[in-house]
Amino acid sequence: MSELNAKIPVGPLAEKWTTYKNSINLISPANKRSLDVIVVGTGLAGGSAAATLAELGYNVKAFCFQDSPRRAHSVAAQGGINAAKNYTGDGDSVYRLFYDTIKGGDYRSREANVYRLAEVSSNIIDQCVAQGVPFAREYGGLLANRSFGGVQVSRTFYAKGQTGQQLLLGVYSALNRQIARGKIEMFNRHEMLDVVLLGDKARGIISRNLVSGAIDRHSAHAVVIASGGYGNLFYLSTYAMGCNASAAWKAHKRGAFLANPCFNQIHPTAIPVGGPNQSKLTLMSESLRNDGRIWVPKDQEDAKALREGVKQPNDIADADRDYYLERQYPAFGNLVPRDVASRAAKERCDAGYGVNVTGQAVFLDFHSAIYRFGKEQARIKGLDTDDDRLITRLGEEVIKGKYGNLFQMYQKIIDQDPYKTPMMIYPTTHYTMGGLWVDYNLMTTVPGLFAIGEANFSDHGANRLGASALMQGLADGYFILPYTIGDYLSQDIGTGKIPTTTIEFEEAELQVTERIHRLINNKGSHPVDYFHKKLGTIMWQYCGINRNKKGLETAMEEIKSVRLAFWENAIVPGTAEEFNEELAKAGRLADFLELAELYAKDALFREESCGAHMREEFRTTDGEALRNDTDFAHVAAWEYKGEPRNALLHKEKLVYENIEVKQRSYR
């Protein structure tokens, strides 16, 4: 075990980034033209990085597995993006955004990185508006804001329930501009299957063309991994079907440390599981908790009647409802952070108060908000403020204006009208705080291999606050990596083109093809999804909202046996030389089955509770997460050593000089 050096610049927190930018090596425009960068992934993080690097003059090759960069899973982000603009004048500042993020992450993130993130946040909004991102506006023509969980200011910018889509289309347009200039070569429907190191440096990748099956070598002076999160370990999640850990896991196997893999966010408000053929879960944005109130019945008999369909939600009188978040957390109410809200929902359902057929759901109710907004509108418009039908109609219009597309999605899936009857929601896997370990430069432990966006571990500690992933992705890509990578590349101005004919490329390509042939020639007895569902069940049972020692040990064994069974028994139809989704899925699952074991090991080693990592053995008397700052105020960064369970632990000590470390309280 060793102590990791995060290369944090010296000096006062608020000046670190400026000092750093003033002291790094620069590269002349002419020299940039002889430097190549590979960017794996073109979501918010990779897309913004590729566009900016190309604009600065580097030659960029960018990769995504979808048929267009516009479809990266960033597109699905709904609620919003934070920035310390303080447009609402409610006391927000860079320091407050920094403070909220560190606290929200339960004091397990790195001060210097988070401060830098808060510092560049407001520039992101300026940038996006200049690019034509149509954010929501007030009647006066200025930008609108709303609130997200875990904070007491309104700093979230949004575009209805489609913020991620609008930001990603902004990134996509910036990418297109550089593609048109010939500065980015875009490889759609290509999957990265390995990183290639020459000496100790990352110098290229091996990719598979998902249409033809062709395996190709690509070289560059640096490689950036921006491949998103690994929540699909759980099979069911709010991630897109193709989201995978392969790029990050391959980087890990080539020497990049993987940090805090067990820090995984379970989002409190997704549409509950319907049946055994369910393939994914749909999020209902956290922004809904601005106006929706969460409740279950006070009486178990009522809950039973609801489950059996004998009673309908509107049959339960207000006095018989338990608005349990408002009751337990009066200071933050329905806007407590996600980890807290998820645990509370599980606790209520486990105690027998769950409401849908499965008993695994709570209500999210807009009735009060509809009434409040309706009354306000009636007053503004000079209409009858006692006409209940009018008020309901006006109120519904306001809610529709704010969340229309989310309500429509809910209605299509559940076949109920959420304007009239409360939504049913339940927690599900949503975001992974863990990821490739990076230093202040966003570089992994492999020189020349960078990681940005959800693929790295850096800013969210043990729990991410809402609306901060979009912020981080764009901050990394537009404003941070373009500087830090330049400092690294300045040593390569005389290097010249990197050849792809070396033995290292040859070996990596061979390994990739061998694995593909092993998968395709495996005459097994079950399709890939059969194993993926098994993995998901293990993850949810032992590595989800609550964990304990015995469960995690069991998980490690069971994951290993599913992995062995997969390699023995999976069927992959078709051939390797064609469009073959089952083959792509098999490769991704093979990597998940390794990563999952390390995830469980990480959770086992972290003998404390913090943020989303709730070890049942370590709880306060109120049932909240009980941190152990003496022994665990560190990042756990794992080095690959053959089998996932043999990974070697390295620690980065977390030092808080600008924030007082406290027991987190939202009560």
């Binding site: 913004s48 900016t52 604009e55 979808q66 048929d67 267009s68 516009r70 479809r71 899973h73 597109v75 699905a76 300026d126 940038q127 996006c128 508006v129 200049a130 690019q131 034509g132 149509p134 929501a136 506006r137 007030e138 009647y139 200025l142 930008l143 575009a159 209805k160 489609q162 889509q165 289309l169 996509y172 347009s173 910036a174 297109n176 501009r177 593609i179 759609n188 897109a240 079907m241 193709g242 049946g275 053929n277 393939s279 994914k280 749909t282 429509q408 999605m409 299509k412 899936i413 076949d415 537009y478 404003f479 399709p527 999804d529 069927i571 139809p573 078709g574 064609e578 469009f579 089952e582």
Partner: protein, 248 residues
Amino acid sequence: MKLNLKIWRQKDARSKGEMKDYPINGIEGDMSFLEMLDVLNEELINKGEEPVQFDHDCREGICGSCSLQINGEPHGPDRLVTTCQLHMRKFNDGDTIVIEPFRATAFPVIKDLVIDRSAFDRIQQVGGYISVNTSGNTVDANATPIEKEKADDSFYAATCIGCGACVAACKNASAMLFTSAKVSQFALLPQGRVEATERVQSMVRQMDLEGFGNCTNTGACEVECPKGISLENIARMNREYLSAKLKG
């Protein structure tokens, strides 16, 4: 439910395709259309046959990956939904469901139901952006107030997911709805006005080069668009195009 599926099978871009029959059983109304295809594929794989390939990713109606012409309609019989959000409760026991790829010369088939929509990317590459640098500082976001109504209209145009249903719905396979949505998003914003003339001309030129057909105002695109992109965008683009032509 018991259903009779008729599905387009095509080995690759060069091969000729054909419709094949697949009876299927035990489908629940709460399953999504793609989950129904998952069930079919699982059966096919277990029988040692090749599964049906189709594009999909988010499965929540936002990425624009899924497509499918279902009983002659892009994204099937429901309105304002993509195929991934279409639920089997829209069908009845015993129904025959015909499933084909979106058909258009500019969207060649890659395999089975998977098509190549890169023509859409190329239309965007010739002008679907505002030429500002992403690395530098720019003015404060609130320096230019924008009328809420215009900002909202711009947003609605920008909610196009690039799925291609408008093309598949059109008897001429025109891409006017798609292209006009992007042109409109920028035309409605002060930031986008600067390059408006150049943008509309380039994008329309590329649209024609890609082999999309002419618009004859049938309005079929608007009906089938899962995101409710309005025909007003086409009218706006026509105005923009005309005034660009007048400017030369």
